[in-house]
């Protein structure tokens, strides 16, 4: 599973260096699907409702629904391709890489035994820190949504690696419904706040008169 986790780390990093909204959404989709793959590796039997609910959460909602909802809004408004999730300069890229290194050092401290658990904690911590980097450096609505969803995915990865799961399937279903409701709100905000105007969030061809 280490290769999956390394793959997830690449999926977390690469979209930060490619400044288009399509890449950001592709990155989100890849994160969700990779998380689902990891979940299926951790519980290959898939013989409990909780396992199936987890797959639906990760693959269908985080991997497909979230990027698709945001894609529809941006496509409908003909948004220009360029959207930097972090500032496109050497300092930001260095900070991003430094955060990843910090995450690995942190994981080595918290999980002394080297192995899959340590790597999982490291990748989850990296995802969390990179999500905060996005939130801290970009004020736009779309970038803030991407930052929050990255943090959510990092938390989901950390929970996947733990052995504790709430015994009630209702709790997990409630979390899933909350996530879907939150995504619906994000979509609404992106539509209403990302429209062309005095301060467009994502520059559109309409806003620039093209």
């Amino acid at each position: 599973m280490n290769s999956l986790l390394v793959g997830l780390l690449l999926v977390l990093l690469v979209p930060l260096f490619v400044g288009t909204w399509r890449t950001s959404l592709l990155g989100l989709a890849a994160q969700g699907l990779t998380l689902a793959w990891i979940a299926s590796r951790l519980d290959p039997a898939l013989d409990t409702p909780l396992a199936w609910l987890t797959l639906v959460d990760l693959a269908a909602v985080r991997g497909l629904l979230a990027p698709w909802l945001l894609y529809r809004v941006l496509k409908a408004h003909d948004a220009l391709p360029r959207n930097d999730v972090i500032p496109p300069n050497l300092l930001s890229w260095t900070v991003a890489l430094a955060l990843v290194l910090m995450a690995f050092r942190f994981a080595a401290r918290m999980v002394p035994a080297a192995g899959e658990q340590q790597t999982l904690v490291a990748v989850a911590a990296a995802g969390l820190l990179l999500g905060f980097l996005v939130l801290a450096t970009q004020p736009g609505v779309f970038s803030q949504i991407i930052g929050v969803l990255r943090i959510d995915n990092a938390i989901a990865l950390f929970e996947l690696g733990g052995e504790h799961h709430h015994p009630s399937i209702g709790m997990h279903a409630a979390h899933l419904l909350i996530l879907i409701a939150t995504l619906s709100l994000y979509r609404w905000y992106l539509e209403s706040l990302g429209l062309p105007g005095p301060m467009p969030d994502v520059p559109t061809r309409e806003g620039l008169g093209r």
């Binding site: 401290r109 939130l135 929050v148 938390i155 504790h164 409630a174 909350i178 939150t182 105007g197």
Partner: protein
């Protein structure tokens, strides 16, 4: 069973709005439902019952739940009654009214669930539900700035509650590493007495404190609060500041109560740092602002800081902290509802443009005056005694630097707030207009809140005093 009714009752009432004849009377339906729920909450607080906790059960009707239910639900009733008399003063159109009522009812049910649940993770889910319900209500005015404030509220809340969830996951790892069962039922954790030490437990606790601190508007992630409270319609601002705030606070109290035996030093240091930093930030912001609602919002951050300091100290400050929390719920409800009325009549929130309130709008001027005195911690209001007890605990605990900082900041806050608000109340009227008189019925909710504030300061009824002492007793000292 009756405790579950406080949660399910409002939700069932919200479903009842599907009926056309109920939808046509949505406003009255909201008031009646809230009246029944608030009455049940007061009865539960006043009638002495043994602690009602079925081990491993869903519901925890303990002293903490009874105390805060007796405040939160009546405040919600007052807010709803204010809205019933003045629906035109909010941004809710007649077509949106059933949706607003449904959201408010489910919000009430979820808020009660936070207070009554015996499972910390269920409390978290209920708090998330209240967040999702109130988010679109903040954007009620429809302006871009309101939607932006609402969006930032959602972002910060998502991050904060996500950190709480992550914190619980870390704590669970710590429990499992220690060979314990990772059970988040409050009765099981309290009975365990030492639910977990170790790195994972400490890290998880820090994340939970940071996450819940975000919901309370504590430094460092507080920047959502001033804009959200400012842009929200007055009833929604009162729901946020007086109802949801206290739900998040109760969850924080429960977490601290459970993990203090193992992490007393960490809790003290973290809450003190967040509390003092929040007071500093809010004091500076109060000096700089001339927006009435923003001033009240910054005062709310100040109060959160005081509560964090009191909670960090533990049992020595517990009674005062609880008294302060209850008093501030009423204060914020009074001030936000009054600010809404002032804004509606003067069409501005700029404090420099408003003057002579005590003559132009006597009721509003009176509520603003008394609310401000209560906000600043003057006697005979409950906030005065609450603050005094916290200060006393700081000295008793040897926290002299924090004590000195606290006193300096509240003195500066008094001067800054007085400089801004007192001319509004007593200055020369700048706009000579005749206003329609505000009826006693419209002012009744705020009047009752004011009476409750004075009661908390002068003579606390025996049942409430007993509840305060019971809750204070379970918060162990550091």
């Amino acid at each position: 069973m009756s405790a579950l009714l406080l949660v399910l009752g409002p939700i069932v009432a919200a479903i009842g709005l599907a009926l056309p004849w109920v939808r046509a009377r949505a406003n009255g339906w909201l008031v009646i439902t809230t009246l029944i729920v608030a009455s049940g909450a007061i009865v539960a607080a006043v009638v002495p019952i043994p602690q009602h906790v079925r081990p491993g059960g869903m519901v925890r009707m303990d002293a903490t739940a009874r105390l805060f239910l007796s405040v939160v639900d009546p405040i919600f009733l007052g807010v709803v009654a204010y809205f019933w008399r003045r629906p035109h003063a909010t941004s809710v159109s007649s077509t949106d009214l059933p949706r607003f009522v449904a959201a408010s009812l489910v919000f009430l049910g979820a808020a009660n669930a936070v207070l009554l649940s015996n499972d910390l993770q269920v409390c978290l889910v209920a708090l998330e539900i209240t967040t999702l319900l109130v988010t679109p209500l903040i954007a009620g005015s429809g302006t871009r700035s309101a939607r932006l404030a609402s969006f930032h509220y959602l972002v910060f809340s998502s991050v904060g509650l996500g950190l709480v969830l992550l914190g619980f996951a870390c704590i669970a790892r710590g429990m499992l590493d220690a060979g314990q069962v990772a059970d988040f039922h409050i009765d099981a954790l309290v009975a365990r007495r030492h639910p977990g030490t170790g790195l994972w437990s400490g890290l998880g606790l820090c994340l939970v404190l940071l996450g819940l601190g975000t919901k309370l508007g504590l430094v460092p992630m507080y920047t959502w609060l001033p804009a959200a409270y400012d842009e929200a319609p007055p009833t929604v601002a009162a729901m946020l500041a007086a109802v949801q705030f206290n739900c998040a606070f109760v969850l924080l109290v429960r977490v601290v109560q459970i993990w203090r035996p193992d992490h007393a030093g960490l809790i003290l240091a973290t809450l003190m740092a967040m509390g003092v930093a929040s007071m500093v930030v809010s004091t500076v912001s109060i000096i700089a602002t001339f927006d009435l609602k923003r001033l009240i919002a910054y005062a709310s951050i100040n109060h959160a800081g005081v509560l964090a300091i009191g909670l960090g100290l533990g049992r020595p400050a517990a009674y005062g902290m609880l008294l302060y929390a209850l008093s501030n719920a009423f204060i914020k409800a009074i001030l936000f509802l009054t600010a809404g009325k002032i804004h509606q009549h003067y069409q501005t929130k700029d404090t420099r443009a408003i003057s002579g309130l005590i003559r132009d709008l006597p009721y509003s001027g009176l509520f603003l005056m008394l609310g401000t005195f209560a906000l600043l911690g003057f006697p005979p209001f409950g906030s005065f005694f609450g603050e005094l007890l916290i200060l006393s605990a700081l000295v008793g605990n040897g926290q002299m630097l924090v004590f000195a900082t606290f006193c300096t900041l509240i003195a500066i806050t008094f001067v800054a707030t007085g400089r801004t608000i007192f001319p509004m109340i007593w200055g020369e009227a700048k706009m000579l207009r005749s206003w329609p008189r505000q009826t006693l019925l419209e002012a009744l909710p705020k009047l009752l809140f004011l009476i409750a504030l004075v009661v908390l300061g002068l003579y606390i009824p025996a049942p409430i005093d007993a509840l305060l002492r019971q809750v204070a007793a379970v918060l162990e000292g550091s």
